[in-house]
Structures are given as structure tokens and as C-alpha cells.
Symmetry: C2
Subunit: 304 residues, 2 copies
């Protein structure tokens, strides 16, 4: 047991998976849950999620040793403000948002003295949502990034690390600014680009949608996969990781113009060298065990 | 049997698969092969590929009823010039290149009277190459596009269609210009964009390659997959389908700037609407049976 009482705020896929995984690992004495939605709370009770489903935020977090905010990034500030008076001294407050700088800026102003705030981001998910979507294995062999903002109590940090490792995750630490840049490269910009390419195909008058769909296996299909992600979540990601996304987008545009110019000027050598270099990164991913022939698009457990 | 004698020029993955598939279907009386490389010809003989492996182009194509050029797009013109004097009147000449306008422009000037030229493009492949890479199932349930340039003898066209259908493919016809635009959207531009994104990640000084690789499952990984394709082939594709690729790239850039502007101006509604629209295309692909939960990236047989 790592924490006496753990509280999940928001009862979606990530929170319900944390509840199952913490139970499986015997990591908490008591697990409480709260969700703004009456329906989500009723469902959670019906399926016996956690030990107690509370009807108020205050009740849910009072006396808890670890409180995890698993709500949309845009809602973090308001929730932090509401729970602040009820957090016990020495408690650890964490979250599961995809963007970290914006969460730190939203939560820190409300943080009471003596509460340890350690933002976190588990790199895991499925296309399903809600209290029924969770399962204990979601974090097995996936990364969880701990993103402490400034000075953080080493013992509080070690406890949260042990909690995530107990749920099967590999844990790394980085600062919020770096986190947001790394995710802008590995996730946010690729998503925006995939959305754009799919949008172009849809909008084209001279090529029909049915042609795009029929011949999608030639490459386009891989883009549609990531462009099918949840619109609300991705809108929030781009609005809250604006700076890093725009920085990477600008680099992307520069590079794209370089290749476009090479095509226009018949510079085959530049294209060949560029395409040869990008192969090495792909090999690195295969060698690092981050992909197999049965890819799961960030949703499964293909990592060794 | 559809043709008495079929000749494959070039003995790579596509040609060797055609040989296996034509044998399986009993589509040819005799199958001949030729490759510029001594090693490829020796390997082909060693594994018993086809009925005869010839040591000269003239010998290979003389008297053949169907000649298929399965060489790089950049080499089509020269091969056509060499074989032209040896083609028999009434023969069908075809190819398997990824770009069609450039192939038509390269081949047509050399075409002798009485030979039916019908360009083709099977949408199939694997990451392997050479005479040993071929297998009879490569075209099963995949598309093969027949791309006649101008007036084409209906009987010659029907014969080639039956040949590809006999190898398991679904056949569609379109004109060369439209083919190159459709492929620019569904394949060429997505590949260029994936190459670019992987190049940006590799080039970034503030995010290490090992970070990009570790956290690639968050979306980036899907890009590296298509950015690992053969550099020579893709250089030739972009140089020979220049106009259509540049047209689609320009549309892509416009759209990307629109989304970039929306991020900069906090226009969440535009982003949400855009991301909602792109989901529909993804659904269309799933419904059309062009993808499953076990994707194969254009290399397998997931189509229903």
C-alpha cells in the first residue's frame, strides 16, 4: 500500500483505469471517485468502481492522501479552486492532462500551503471513454511522465513514482516546458498534420471521397487513423499547447518548403538523402521495441 | 489461359509476384523474364521463376503477347526504346509504375504501329524487393488501376483486365492525369508530409532522438512507418508526378495555415468543426472495408 486514500476526480477512461490498476496492485487503502455528471457517478456505482463514489468534490477529496485530476485540461483550474480548501496538509495533488504548462499555470495559483503538486501524463488511451471503459492493464509497459514544476518534495515524488510503477507504467521525469515540446513533436503536430491532410482530401473537388477511401491503403489511411481522435480533446490540446505546437509547425513548414523546392527544381539528390535519413529514425523505433508488425497506435501493449 | 506468352521486364517484387500469380491462375502459356542485373537473372533461374529467364531484352520480348515493364519510372523510356523493334504486332505493352503521366510521355514516342499500350498500376507492395520477394497472393483483393492514354482497343483492354482479375485484383480504369492526382492525394503527398515530420523531429536540437523514439506511440510512430519507404522509388515518384504533388501540397499548406491561424487566435470552434469533419472520412474507410483493427499499411490483404 502506497497511499491510505486515493481520490479520482473525473471518472473517464483514465480515472477508471487508475482505479482498476491501483486495486490490482494493492496500492491504496481506499479509493474514492467523483464526477460532475450524475450519470457517470450512477454508472460508477452500478459497476462497483472504487470503494466510494461521492456526490460532492469536497467530500471526495477531504482527507485524501493522493488526489488525481482526470478532467479536461480546460477544466483543471476551476476544479483546483473548488477543492483547495478541502485538501489535507501533506496531500499529493496530481493530474493526467496531455499538456502540462497550461495545467501548472491553471492549478498553481489555487494551491494551499503544504500540498505537493506533481503534474503527470500517462501516455496511454483507447478510443473509448467513460467509467465503463477502464481496465487494469491500460498502463502496463506504457510511459508515465512526471512533470514537477519547480522545487518538489523528494518523498512525495518518490511516492507518486512508486504508485505509477505499481500500476505497470515506466516513469520518467521532465519539466513542463520540455514535456510540452516533446509532445508537440511526437503527438500534437503529427495529429494536426494528419487532420489537415484528411481535410484537404475531403475538400478536393476533382477527386471524390469514394476514390480517396478506395485507394487509401496507399498511405493516406495511416493519416485518417490519427485524424479520427476525439475533437474536444484535441481542440483543447492545441489551444493549451499553443506555443510549442506553433514552434514545431513553423519548423515543419520550413522543411516542407525545402522539399517542395527540391521537387520543383528536380533536385533528386536532396530528396534521396532526406528520405534515407528518415529511415534511420524508423529503425530506431523498431529496435527500441516501440513498434511491431501489429501496430496499435498508442493504444495497446506492443512495447517489450 | 489469357495470353500465349507473357514477358516481365525487371524481376523485382512486383514482377516476381505477377509471375507467381499468373502461374497460380493459369493465365499464360509461357512466362519469360529479363532483368538488367546478372545477379537478379541468376537468382530467378535458381529459384525457378517463370519458364525462361532471358539474357537479352530482344529475346525476352520477341513474340510475346503481353510485355509488362516493371522497372523504375525513370527507366521506362529507355527500355521502351530498346524493345520497340522486337515487339510483335498486336502485342499488349503495359507497366506497373506508381506514376502514369510521366510513363505515357516516356513510352509513347517509341511505340511501334499495331502495339497496344495500356499503362497499369497495381496498388500493392511490401517492404521487400528482388526476385525472391514475390508471392502469388500479393494482388489478391487489391486494386489495380488500368490507365489507357487516349483511344485503346477494347479487346486489348478487356484482356488485360481479365489478366489482373485472374491474379486476384479488383480493376478500375481512369485516365493518366486523374490517376496522378488521385495518387498525389492518397499516397504521394501523405508520404512527403510523413518524411517531412520525421525529418523535423530528427533535426530538432532541444528534443533528443531517443525521446522522439521513446514517446513515438503518441502519434509520431504512424508517420515513421510510411517515411521508411524506399528512397529511390520515392525520389522518382515526386520528380515524375511533380505537378499533381505540388498542387496538392499547395492546398495542404493553405489548410495548414488556416488551422495554425485558428490556434494562434484561440478559435476553438473552427478546430472542433474541422476535427469533427475529418472523423467522417475515417468512418468511411472502415465501412468500405479498407481498414481493420489489424492494419497492414497497404501491404496485406485486409480488404473484404
Amino acid at each position: 500500500m502506497i497511499y491510505g486514500t486515493v481520490t479520482l476526480v473525473g471518472l473517464g477512461l483514465i480515472a477508471s483505469s487508475i482505479i482498476h490498476a491501483a486495486k490490482r496492485g494493492g496500492l491504496a487503502g481506499e479509493i474514492r471517485g467523483y464526477d460532475l455528471s450524475d450519470e457517470a457517478r450512477a454508472t460508477a456505482r452500478e459497476i462497483g468502481l472504487g470503494d466510494v463514489i461521492c456526490d460532492s468534490l469536497a467530500e471526495a477529496v477531504s482527507g485524501a492522501d493522493l488526489v488525481i485530476l482526470a478532467v479536461p485540461v480546460g477544466a483543471m483550474g476551476q476544479v483546483a479552486e473548488e477543492i483547495a480548501p478541502h485538501l489535507k496538509p501533506g496531500a499529493v495533488l496530481s493530474d493526467t492532462g496531455s499538456v502540462k504548462g497550461a495545467v501548472v499555470r491553471a492549478v498553481e495559483p489555487h494551491l494551499p500551503e503544504g500540498v505537493h503538486f506533481i503534474p503527470a501524463h500517462p501516455l496511454a488511451g483507447t478510443e473509448h471513454s467513460g467509467p465503463r471503459a477502464g481496465f487494469a492493464e491500460l498502463f502496463d509497459n506504457r510511459w508515465c511522465l512526471l512533470v514537477p514544476a519547480g522545487e518538489t518534495d523528494p518523498q512525495a515524488l518518490a511516492g507518486l513514482r512508486a504508485f505509477w510503477e505499481g500500476m505497470g507504467a515506466h516513469v520518467e521525469e521532465m519539466d513542463p516546458e520540455h514535456h510540452d515540446l516533446v509532445l508537440a513533436v511526437t503527438s500534437h503536430t503529427p495529429h494536426l498534420i494528419a487532420y489537415t491532410m484528411v481535410g484537404v482530401a475531403d475538400d478536393l473537388r476533382r477527386v471524390t471521397d469514394s476514390e480517396v477511401i478506395k485507394y487509401s491503403a496507399a498511405g493516406f489511411r495511416d493519416f485518417t487513423r490519427i485524424a479520427a481522435s476525439d475533437p474536444t480533446m484535441w481542440r483543447d490540446v492545441f489551444l493549451s499547447n499553443k506555443e510549442a505546437t506553433l514552434t514545431i509547425l513553423q519548423r515543419f513548414t520550413e522543411e516542407l518548403f525545402r522539399l517542395q523546392r527540391a521537387i520543383r527544381r528536380d533536385d533528386g539528390d536532396l530528396l534521396f538523402d532526406y528520405f534515407t535519413r528518415t529511415r534511420a529514425i524508423r529503425r530506431g523505433i523498431i529496435e527500441a521495441g516501440q513498434d511491431t508488425d501489429a501496430p496499435d497506435f498508442g493504444r495497446g501493449t506492443t512495447r517489450k
